[in-house]
Symmetry: none
Subunit: 400 residues, 2 copies
């Protein structure tokens, strides 16, 4: 018996999951209020007054998650069991059709100095056009080792993806990105006997790439990290019988959504555009995941006021989502990004689940302290999908 999967019904209400990236925060000392508590959020507050509130722990108390595990947990996948590397996420993000067993590698285009040390880990942030030119050069110039297919894919600026496909490849090899300047790139090494051939294959490809790029003035090297094998995940349809659409403006998030089999909408150039896409596509799907990024970015900038404004901007879009009258609306974040910490943090994240079936508190607002007092308590994010399915009438009773 696997819960909630074995209880899933084929029909039920529509669910919208709104992810406000990096939503949770820490109080400003002058006011004692967090970014979310400081923001004027009349629409989210109105929802909160008729919703189930709580705080969710993305992975475990004290663990600050990356965006990958943060979103997998929101999607109902145990983020420790389904831990994935950056390479796989990047490959999925650019829309590469990974096969089971493929090895995906996150690449940085980089600049080496005359002594072969890393001078710029991002090769002066080339334009996307320049990125595509360099990747095309690698595609035509790099020699693939025997028995291995090699794919180079451009991402944005200095970012690219390398995929290796072949029998017997194992991802258990080390990064070559030294994560610092002034030192040469590392050579990749096998972390286990089984990975020895993979390390040789990857190093041969990297050596060939360095030759191909040797005449470039800036992007004369590539650095490899986040090396991971792709294993097919059970999909949203298989697990939850949900026909799901992901609407996000950054490849990272459509990447995680593809990992669990969601369809993805082309990236819009504004959050308002994302909401219009949701409205247009609404009737075609059982489940919508819509992603808003700015809270996280402003938190990482350490800009408390700008994070407050980013929250208010999402609040202003809420009425257009509510106009579709979703049966279940979930609003939360994939982790906290307190402006005072300037990074992802471990602090539990506010969550609101609005449906007809809530023990709501009419005086509640949407904020860390208000959610702390809510009916859901503090719980693990991987249970959010079970709650959403339940509120949508999509789960049968467990046991006689």
């Amino acid at each position: 018996m696997s819960l909630p999967d074995d209880l899933v019904l084929p029909t039920g209400g529509r669910i919208v999951l709104v992810v406000m990236d990096g939503l949770g925060g820490l109080p400003r000392s002058e006011t004692g209020k967090t970014e979310l508590e400081t923001a004027s959020t009349p629409n989210l507050d109105r929802l909160a007054s008729r919703a189930a509130l709580g705080l969710q722990v993305p992975v475990e108390h004290g663990i600050a998650p990356g965006s990958g595990p943060g979103h997998l947990a929101l999607f109902g996948y145990d983020p420790v069991r389904y831990n994935i590397g950056r390479g796989v996420l990047s490959a999925l993000g650019v829309g590469f059709a990974l096969d089971h067993g493929d090895i995906a590698v996150r690449l940085n285009l980089a600049t080496l100095d005359g002594e072969g040390a890393v001078a710029d880990r991002r090769a002066g942030r080339p334009s996307d056009d320049e990125n595509r030119r360099l990747i095309a050069k690698l595609r035509s110039g790099v020699t693939a080792p025997a028995g291995v297919q090699v794919f180079f894919e451009p991402e944005k600026e200095h970012r690219a993806v390398l995929v290796l496909r072949g029998e017997g490849l194992v991802a258990d090899v080390t990064d070559t990105d030294p994560q610092a300047t002034g030192v040469p790139p590392a050579r990749t090494t096998a972390k286990s006997d089984a990975a020895r051939r993979t390390a040789e294959v990857l190093q041969a490809i990297l050596d060939s790439a360095f030759d191909v790029l040797s005449d470039e003035p800036r992007a004369n090297a590539i650095l490899a990290r986040g090396i991971d094998a792709f294993h097919r995940y059970p999909t949203f349809m298989e697990r939850f019988h949900l026909n799901a659409l992901a609407i996000a403006r950054y490849p990272m998030y459509t990447g995680v959504a593809r990992l669990v089999g969601m369809q993805t909408h082309p990236a819009q150039d504004s959050d308002a555009g994302s909401v219009r896409a949701l409205a247009e596509q609404y009737e075609g799907f059982d489940f919508h995941f819509i992603h808003f990024k700015a809270m996280d970015s402003r938190g990482e900038d350490g800009d408390f006021d700008a994070k407050v404004e980013a929250i208010e901007a999402v609040d202003a879009l809420v009425p257009q989502i509510m106009a579709k009258q979703p049966d279940v609306l979930v609003v939360t974040g994939d982790h906290s990004t307190p402006a005072h910490l300037r990074s992802h943090s471990w602090h539990p994240v506010p969550i609101l689940i609005a449906s007809r079936w809530c023990r709501s508190d009419a005086s509640a607002t949407f904020g860390e302290r208000s959610c702390r007092a809510g009916e859901l308590g503090i719980f693990h994010a991987m249970h959010i999908m079970t709650l959403a399915l339940a509120h949508a009438g999509r789960l049968s009773k467990f046991g006689a």
Copy 2:
């Protein structure tokens, strides 16, 4: 991937863990307030107003832990997986250098009556000098079975430790302490086939000891319990990269601390002495565990008012700890010991984590009900170390 171990950084802030043994309590019916809520604790209350508060469950809802599992959980070790017998803790407490595979046994010196029944399970509580005399007599008189090394170690009053070392010994044998008077000591028996020889060996040693003590007027017998094998634990340095010091006045607690590789400070003769030791040693360690015992003892006495006073005495020492300005201060207990129950209990234990990164509530105080409303909710004690490491900036992000 093992959490939090695989995310640990080699540097970060200093952590102080203050254990107020048996801290949690139950309300006095006249006032509705627990011991901690009754106590005047201005210093802990001031800390609480700027800390993360919660309640921690040492093992599982409804489980009253002994001091061993209570402390192992506080140290971040799953207390069920890392369950250890009293014998191992006692051996470590007296500073015996256990080898992997040693069998440790907690002994009571006891008095048998003319019929061979237990008249006093503690042999009239002999002085420590008398204890040492009796143990010396056992050391010289008891015959070791072939292939087995036998070590007797004095503890305090009626308490002693027996260690067996040899190939093929297995701890799966029964106690001989009947935990009652008026009945004879039990014979030890094997609980599994593999332990049959160990039971014979131990019984032979106990028989020999009874012969050696037969001319003693009071301590004419020994009772064996807490029989367990020693397995080396991953250390605090290996798991958390923390150079840790334990400051405790009773061997039991330094014993658990040694089990996880902490260095131990010589026992002081007062709690004030323990705090002075912490201040003197502060810069030399990343992590300090300081243990205060009196709450638990007064709780076990059933003396509500004395437990209140014991709490107030610790509160008075808090400013000297805060004078060192630890980056993270954790204050909690290893379990509850409500005076009304006169024993360890299963009730969740108040916890306070003070650092720069808290969603604190300025009106909060340190007490069971106030902690219940805190940002940490109710959680398992084994996650405290993860939180402490996070607050100290000693964990990297999980996943990309």
